[in-house]
């Protein structure tokens, strides 16, 4: 299924907001969304929520024969899948470019940086080694899949315990978890990816872009670091041109962020370890919040209606009566008419309209104008129109009424406006018209 395209006004809005250093969800430029890490009942299973982006990571192991050219090293295998659950745009079948990009980045970040000690995975040189397989599934896509995936992978690997193994001569014994406690993997370091999105040809950058921000970005820079400030991977993508200073600045920011996130992961692991030791309940079920409202029904509340009548009378007495509502249509051009106010008319408002005033109907003009925000020339005269000339054509179709635009009305007769009639030129403040709130609706 094709993704819903982003409309131009939404795109313009997002870009304008970013230029004004505002993000749609209220974060600052370098702020991450809330990260939540929960572990499952089995070792090696974890769900990471970065804002609303959710990634599930699962680590499993198997004894296999090693590769020919590396007989003393274990095998690591990473796989990220974008399930159709995450976004309707993801389809199963041919791997899309995004999938290849994410997978390659993940491989480079975790495998090439040697975060796991592969030598320790060797059981019998040349014969049997452990193959560690990390499967990541994207459950919900709200932007920044890369960061969430890397956090999930690292957390799952740290959480995982492999069965203990002993070798006597040629014989290899694998102990089940009941016989001997499973052994954690030896990790050298924890590489975490930090994504930077660039906008407006590299002038503005944001950390942890949300899905909307990702759609309007020019390019992405991913820096993977560990808490010792070693850079594991850098990857720039998209068509942006970077400068060296930008890259260095990003790496400094990344260093700070990675330290925070690593601490978070350590805390989560520590919590999980404590709970398991104490024998408390752990797992995904426990991580779902208890006090959440899951039903729409609430109890009846008592409402105090004692002084309602007084309040109502007060409001009524203070307000002014509404002005006459005139329901004659306003004619702009031949064949079009407007009833009521609202958006700017885009039909027939061509060159000849330059002189014509914009005339509006307005009711409740007086008391509402005071609340309107636009202070520039809100002397929107509620000029009232005379009735439109109704020209009955000679054709057989008697019901067809062709509305002709008024000749330049000098003075409007019906409604006596309080304010001066200001023949302001056409279409200068359509906004102010919109802001005239119709509280009477």
């Amino acid at each position: 299924m094709r993704e819903t395209p982003l409309s131009s006004c939404e795109r313009a809005f997002l870009l304008q907001a970013i230029t004004d250093k505002k993000r749609v969800d209220g974060r600052q430029t370098y702020d991450y969304r809330n990260i939540k890490i929960t572990f499952g009942t089995e070792y090696g299973c974890c769900i990471v929520e970065l804002g609303k982006t959710r990634v599930l990571g699962q680590v499993s192991c198997e004894l296999v024969a090693p590769k020919m050219n590396r007989p003393t090293e274990g095998i690591l295998f990473f796989n990220l899948e974008l399930s159709s659950m995450a976004s309707p745009a993801f389809e199963t079948g041919r791997p899309s470019e995004l999938l290849v990009k994410l997978n390659r980045l993940l491989e480079r970040c975790l495998r090439n940086s040697k975060c796991i000690d592969t030598e320790s995975l060797c059981v019998q040189a040349g014969e049997k080694v452990w193959q560690i397989r990390v499967d990541l599934h994207l459950l919900n896509h709200e932007g920044n899949i890369m960061d969430a995936a890397s956090i999930a992978a690292v957390a799952a690997l740290c959480h995982f315990r492999r069965p203990d193994v002993s070798v006597q001569g040629e014989e290899v014994t694998v102990y089940s978890p009941e016989e001997r406690d499973p052994v954690p993997l030896s990790m050298h370091h924890m590489p975490i990816c930090v994504s930077f999105a660039f906008f407006q040809q590299g002038t503005f950058l944001l950390v942890d872009p949300s899905e909307r921000e990702e759609r309007v970005m020019d390019g992405l820079l991913v820096i993977a670091m560990n808490k010792h400030r070693e850079i594991c991977t850098i990857q720039s993508s998209g068509g942006i041109m970077l400068l060296k200073e930008q890259v260095l600045r990003c790496s400094k920011v990344a260093g700070v962020k990675v330290a925070e996130i690593t601490e978070l992961i350590q805390k989560a692991l520590e919590n999980d370890r404590k709970i398991r030791k104490e024998g408390g309940k752990f797992g995904f079920a426990e991580s779902l919040p208890d006090q959440k409202i899951t039903a729409l029904k609430i109890e009846k509340n008592v409402v105090d209606t004692s002084n309602v009548k007084d309040k109502a009378e007060k409001i009524i007495s203070e307000s002014q009566p509404p002005s006459d509502v005139v329901t004659k249509p306003v004619v702009r051009a031949v064949g079009t008419a407007q009833i009521g106010e609202g958006i700017e008319n885009t039909w027939g408002e061509l060159e000849e309209e330059e002189d014509e005033e914009e005339e509006d109907e307005d009711d409740d003009d007086a008391d509402i104008v005071s609340t309107s925000i636009e202070s520039d020339k809100v002397t929107e005269k509620p000029a009232k129109k005379t009735s439109a000339d109704i020209v009955i054509s000679d054709s057989e179709e008697e019901d067809v009424v062709i509305l002709q635009p008024e000749p330049q009305a000098k003075a409007s007769s019906s409604q006596a406006p309080e304010e001066d009639q200001d023949k302001s030129p056409v279409r200068k403040t359509p906004h102010s018209k919109k802001k005239k709130k119709r509280s009477s609706h």
Binding site: R104, N112, K114, I234, S237, M241, L243, L248
Partner: protein
């Protein structure tokens, strides 16, 4: 391979270069007559062939048409005999797809695509022999091919790799140096404006050294730019001499 010293005490690398030296570059434009633009480039033992077709009408699905720009379509493939161990498939595996995307990204930034709306430019790169720095040689060869095809670009795109051993940044890594597992950086640069079109780094490198490594790579790119510029000018002289002779006859 444990005893292989990548940087000797006197500062010489395995193939006798100093830390900032590039391998020997030989290039030639206009190798094939049938393609719109073609170039062949040798950087040390790495040999790459780039061919450009276009700008022409979009082939295949019309859905890819962009109303205001040209579509840049790349393909990166390695000959099956190019690597030490024979490759099963020339293209279509993950690494080739990734390289294809990187090439596309690099050239979309450099080519003035606004001049050819609704068109497609094809860039095909073939590695004939792989000895380290595959991506960089491809980019350099493709730059020459695009210039040969007469497609306007913002600037030359020059690429070079860099590594870091024993506190010294190395420029232009060969296969042996890449396989040793140290940090490697690949950088594609537009030399005049110092803008980075693509930055890719693997393996662990401390943040404090990043500055020096990027500097070494940028300097190597500028050296490559000098060579490429000379190649283009020589080729142009050769071609105008041939045409000139015929014209004056």
């Amino acid at each position: 391979m444990a005893g292989l010293e990548l940087l000797s005490d006197q500062g010489y690398r395995v193939d006798g270069r100093k830390s900032g030296e590039l391998r020997k570059i030989q290039a030639r434009m206009g190798v094939f007559a049938q393609a719109d633009g073609s170039a062949y480039m040798e950087q040390g033992n790495t040999k790459a062939l780039a061919v450009v077709y276009g700008p022409h009408e979009i082939r295949g699905s019309r859905a890819k048409t962009l109303h205001d720009r040209a579509v840049v379509n790349c393909q990166y493939s390695m000959a099956t005999f190019s690597t030490g161990e024979r490759k099963r498939r020339p293209h279509g595996d993950r690494t080739s797809t990734e390289m294809t995307m990187h090439l596309k990204q690099t050239f979309e930034a450099a080519i003035l695509t606004q001049l050819y709306p609704r068109c497609q430019i094809d860039i095909y790169v073939q590695i004939l022999q792989a000895d380290g720095g595959n991506y960089c040689t491809c980019v350099n060869a493709a730059t020459l091919a695009v210039i040969d095809a007469g497609i306007p670009m913002r600037d030359y795109v020059c690429a070079s790799s860099a590594g870091f051993i024993e506190d010294t940044p190395l420029a232009d890594l060969s296969y042996v140096e890449e396989a040793s597992g140290g940090p490697q950086l690949a950088l594609a640069l537009l030399p005049k404006s110092d803008q980075i079109a693509l930055l890719e780094m693997n393996s662990r490198l401390h943040e404090d050294h990043l500055d020096r490594v990027i500097d070494a790579a940028s300097k190597a790119c500028k050296d490559v730019y000098a060579v490429l510029d000379q190649v283009v000018r020589d080729h142009l002289q050769e071609v105008t001499a041939l045409i000139g002779d015929r014209g004056s006859a």
